[in-house]
């Protein structure tokens, strides 16, 4: 920056940088306010210190929900099968994330069953079946254009019969402003609960890392319809920063658990907020 003291101009640059990472105006102003407060408190803050303070303040917004060590979905002892329902808007990477997640559980010695409850999108069932084969886990399906709730029910039931540790339910992509489709998710949940009262134990909302401010509305509506418990941010192997998730995590108190960094089976990482914050600011300008 070529300046030694944090002033208006430095803060303007900072605002630009945050906004450029999709952090959004609201959250950006909140972060800047926190920094201004600290500058006021500490009297003199050099631009060198600013970097550190910024990282601390952003990490603090993610703090309540995310430990720095990372927080994958852990299957608690005594719950069997642990049912995970995966939701999100069209094309964000739900099915792919399920494949990768199944691989991780499978590798950890867990018995996994997948449920093909996207019965709508062309060849969605085939896509999940191919992932099932790649990982080496069974996929429960009733084929295309069948009732997704009964597929989910059946997958949970089969999970119990097969003594599975984890059941992961794929759902069709849907835009959150479509009331009918959002109600369908609630129904899928309800039908599963006829078999296991606490199911699904986790609802994983998948967000595309290249999405801008619309992700906030996605989080709002999916949370309303399904009580989302965890977030996964995909496609962070590109140049998009996924900064919108900072505001979402802060506002909804939902932890980010995974990031997708590619299309291959091993390209799913446990979210680490320090690495995330670092990548946010590593942009060459």
């Amino acid at each position: 920056v070529g300046k030694s003291k944090v002033d208006e101009e430095v803060l303007d640059d900072l605002e630009e940088m945050l906004v450029h990472s999709d952090v959004g105006v609201g959250t950006t102003i909140k972060i800047i306010k926190r920094i201004e407060d600290r500058v006021a408190r500490d009297k003199y803050v050099s631009t060198n210190e600013l970097d550190k303070i910024l990282r601390e303040e952003v990490a603090a917004l993610l703090e309540e929900n995310n430990s720095g060590k990372g927080t994958e979905i852990t299957v608690p002892a005594g719950i069997k099968p642990y049912v995970i329902m995966v939701v999100g808007v069209n094309g964000v990477g739900k099915t792919t994330t399920i494949g990768k997640l199944a691989a991780q559980f499978h590798k950890a010695g867990k018995k996994v069953v997948l449920g093909a409850a996207d019965t709508f999108r062309a060849a969605a069932v085939d896509q999940l079946i191919i992932w099932g084969q790649r990982v080496g886990v069974p996929v429960i399906s009733h084929g295309m254009n069948t009732d997704p709730a009964s597929v989910a029910f059946d997958a949970v039931k089969k999970g119990v019969e097969m003594d599975a540790d984890v059941v992961i339910i794929d759902t069709a992509g849907r835009l959150h402003n479509k009331v009918g489709l959002m109600n369908e998710l609630t129904k899928i949940k309800r039908v599963m609960q006829k078999f296991i009262e606490e199911a699904p134990h986790e609802v994983l909302l998948v967000l595309d890392g290249s999405t801008g401010q619309n992700a906030v509305l996605q989080a709002t509506e999916f949370t309303k319809a399904t009580d989302v418990t965890a977030l996964a941010i995909t496609k962070l192997d590109g140049t998009a920063k996924g900064g919108v998730v900072i505001g979402i995590s802060d506002e909804f108190k939902i932890p980010v658990k995974y990031i997708g960094v590619g299309e291959k089976i091993e390209d799913l990482q446990i979210f680490n907020k320090y690495e995330f914050v670092d990548s946010l600011f590593s942009r060459k300008k």
Partner: protein, 295 residues
Amino acid sequence: MFDNLSTKLDRAFKTLKGQGSITEINVAQTIKEVRRALVDADVNYKVAKTVTDKIKDEAMGRDVLIAVSPGQLMVKIVHEELTELMGGEKQDINIKGDPAIILIAGLQGSGKTTFTGKLANYLKKQNRQVLVAACDVYRPAAIEQLKVLAGQVGVDVYTNMEEKNPVKIAQEAIAFAKQNHKKVVIIDTAGRLAVDEAMMNEIAEIKRAINPTETLFVVDSMTGQDAVNTAKTFNERINFDGVVLTKLDGDSRGGAALSIRAVVEKPIKFISTGEKMEALDLFYPDRMAQRILGM
């Protein structure tokens, strides 16, 4: 949001009281509000800056007394400016050639395969003989997906499950089209990130090998600040002719439309408004400007 923005702008204009026109001094805060509103609509912040600088020039000296409120006048000026930026000559898709070859490219999950089906449907309804070609050899069940969609709209699909090189499949499909009197071939390709050198080389190679009549870049309307990077890189590598904006049946503001237009200066030719094969529309700059402003 429209009320929102104009109320905000009214507030920002409070220093205007007693003055009859917009001046350098009273417009500064307002311009900042406009810029923030654009950024909140996912317009790239650099583009937002350029646009608001222009708006400022435009607004300067305008008589506000004739308007209901200075805020509303400002919104009107912004709307006009955005419309003009995204507009210009309306350009249709070019399907001259025998066969015309249309190459589809874009990021993962943006809606390419779905659009391929929709475009096939759209052209078929104009009584053209259409062939779609499945050149995504990577995504699980991508070929099957295109087969299903082609079946739904009733057009032929070219596939070669044994061939792993998409350049070859595209060439084979074009040869097949010529033999079978198809007038349009639409080439669906795999999603790819702009930073993926190997995959960007591949799409450039496909383009070079088939010399398409029209190359379309498909982009998700929910995309944030990164839209600019992606569009720039794809444009550098494949010099596309037009943009397809998808998932506009959602509630995204769609600021990416403005960013892309400003950065690559290519027209938006179609918008996608649903998962069904009929959910395809032409692009209207005026409506898009309203959407970005939340009007």
